[in-house]
């Protein structure tokens, strides 16, 4: 009870990036196993410390310089043997209980694998997440980055892999860690029951910008999810103001087209995130910056100052061009 009160009172435990605040059945099971292991090991630790304390207290008057008797009385020996054997038996039993509990959890989570109504493909890149929603018609496919929208109360299969090194997909409120491995596809099923913005983070060191490789799981009601999907599947209308028109020209005449896609234009490269609807995202650069004009301008001008080593080169350009480019990017909703 006291431990539980402490757990709840400590700030952060109930946050949107915490395995102690599960919002789906998988995370709930993981949290139950965690609690079981925590309380068992906690109790064992407490009892051991109490036993040590008692024996220290009992022997507090025994003087150090007294040579200990060479032979202990047989009765005391017998007592010691029973105590040690008993403690060992209890330890084995408790370890066994924890092992079986974790088997049961893994089995229950794995059982869901066959029955997810739809699939999201996640590709780990150094240092961002590519997200695709495959559709029967190829031109309806939704491609986005770093923000994974999912409907609440529904099983979703994540089909994860990596394009370079090993990454690990970890949104602790929703599921445990899952490694994304180059050349290997890892399937797992998730579910979120509470609407919200649950933060996730790469959990396997993957290079200098590993710490700036986070994502958002945006869980929303089914109707909102469907309208989001519909908006994302569309091609944005051509730029309408002179400023955004010029911004598009700047985009198409710079290095951007070597790495980025904007549907409806000639830009069709897949080295960096798809920017077709970049204006609709809340953050850029894998949750590193809020998506607003001033941050976007700083990012485009020199991303290396923000994420040193990032796979996007500096793009020096006059202020006017930069402003128009940013206005164009923000208009892509």
């Amino acid at each position: 009870m006291i431990a539980l009160a402490i757990l709840i009172a400590v700030p952060g435990f109930g946050s949107n990036q915490s395995s102690l605040n599960p919002v789906g059945p998988m995370a709930q099971r993981i949290e139950h196993t965690l609690a079981l292991i925590f309380f068992i090991t906690g109790a064992v630790y407490l009892l051991t410390m109490i036993a040590v304390g008692i024996s220290v207290w009992r022997n507090r008057l025994v003087r150090d310089d007294f040579p200990p008797p060479l032979q202990t009385p047989p009765e005391q020996d017998r007592k010691a043997v029973t105590a040690v054997a008993g403690a060992m038996g209890v330890s084995v039993l408790l370890l066994f209980i924890m092992m079986v509990a974790s088997f049961i959890t893994s089995h229950a989570i794995g059982k869901e694998n066959g029955r997810a109504p739809f699939e999201v493909d996640v590709y780990g890149h150094q240092w961002w997440w590519e997200v695709q929603y495959p559709q029967p018609e190829a031109d309806k496919m939704v491609v986005t980055a770093n923000e994974i929208h999912i409907p609440i109360g529904s099983l979703v299969r994540i089909h994860g892999t990596s394009t370079d090194v090993i990454h690990s997909f970890w949104a602790p409120n929703i599921h445990g860690k899952r490694d994304l491995l180059p050349g290997y596809e890892n399937d797992f099923v998730i579910q979120a029951d509470q609407p919200g913005r649950w933060r996730g983070q790469c959990a396997e060191f993957c290079g200098p910008q590993h710490a700036h490789m986070s994502f958002l799981m945006i869980a929303e009601p089914m109707d909102k999810f469907h309208s989001w999907m519909e908006a994302q599947a569309g091609t944005p209308p051509p730029p309408s103001t002179p400023q955004t028109q010029h911004g598009q020209q700047v985009f198409l005449s710079h290095a951007c087209i070597m790495c980025h896609t904007i549907r409806g234009t000639v830009a069709g490269s897949r080295v960096g995130p798809d920017l077709t609807h970049v204006g609709s995202r809340d953050t850029i650069a894998s949750g590193t910056l809020p998506n607003d004009p001033s941050h976007l301008a700083k990012w485009v001008l020199n991303a290396q100052q923000i994420k040193p080593g990032v796979r996007m080169p500096p793009n020096p350009m006059p202020q006017q061009e930069l402003n128009d480019l940013v206005a164009y990017l923000e208009s892509l909703r």
Binding site: T163, D164, V165, P182, G183, S253, H254, A255, I257, M258, C259, V271, N302, Q304, Q305, P308, G309, V310, R311, P313, P314, N315, P316
Partner: protein
Amino acid sequence: MKPLSGCILAVVLLTAGCKREQRLFDPGPNASQLASSVHATVVQAGGQPYQPASTTPYEQSAYAVAEGKRLYSAYNCAGCHGVGGGGAIGPALSDSVWIYGSSPDQIYATIVQGRGNGMPAFGGKVPDFQVRELAAYVRSLSGQLPSTIAPSRSDVMPVAKAEQARKQEHPGDENIQPIQHPESH
């Protein structure tokens, strides 16, 4: 305790002598401009005399060459020249045969201007320093870079020998082959 502290001291002194390679993430506004400057290069028809190729700072940084390797697949050079530079619809880059020259400047010019028989021009599309990185990597494909600089691993399943392990080709003297006489009985 004596030998232990001696060891620690030796390790500290030895590591102080190590040089960590500096990674240049931001090569400055000049090198970040779109590549367009075309360096005049001498292209001669026929067998040119072999000249030792000059080198660039990019060829002395393992990081820059590794970036070149990444860009080589990102910009789909691999699609035309093969993953290990073995050649496909574009000529092999791992051998000693060069149509337009093998020096860093000549390769730079090839990438920036494009070449007549189907090599697209990347000038005006990619930053200058990336062309330098690509040129450095292209040269590692035929073993022109020291093995301490050339890449040793791939993110994809390796289908070709690591750049690091390639034997150095000698552009220009590839024609010197012993003539094989059919054996007479």
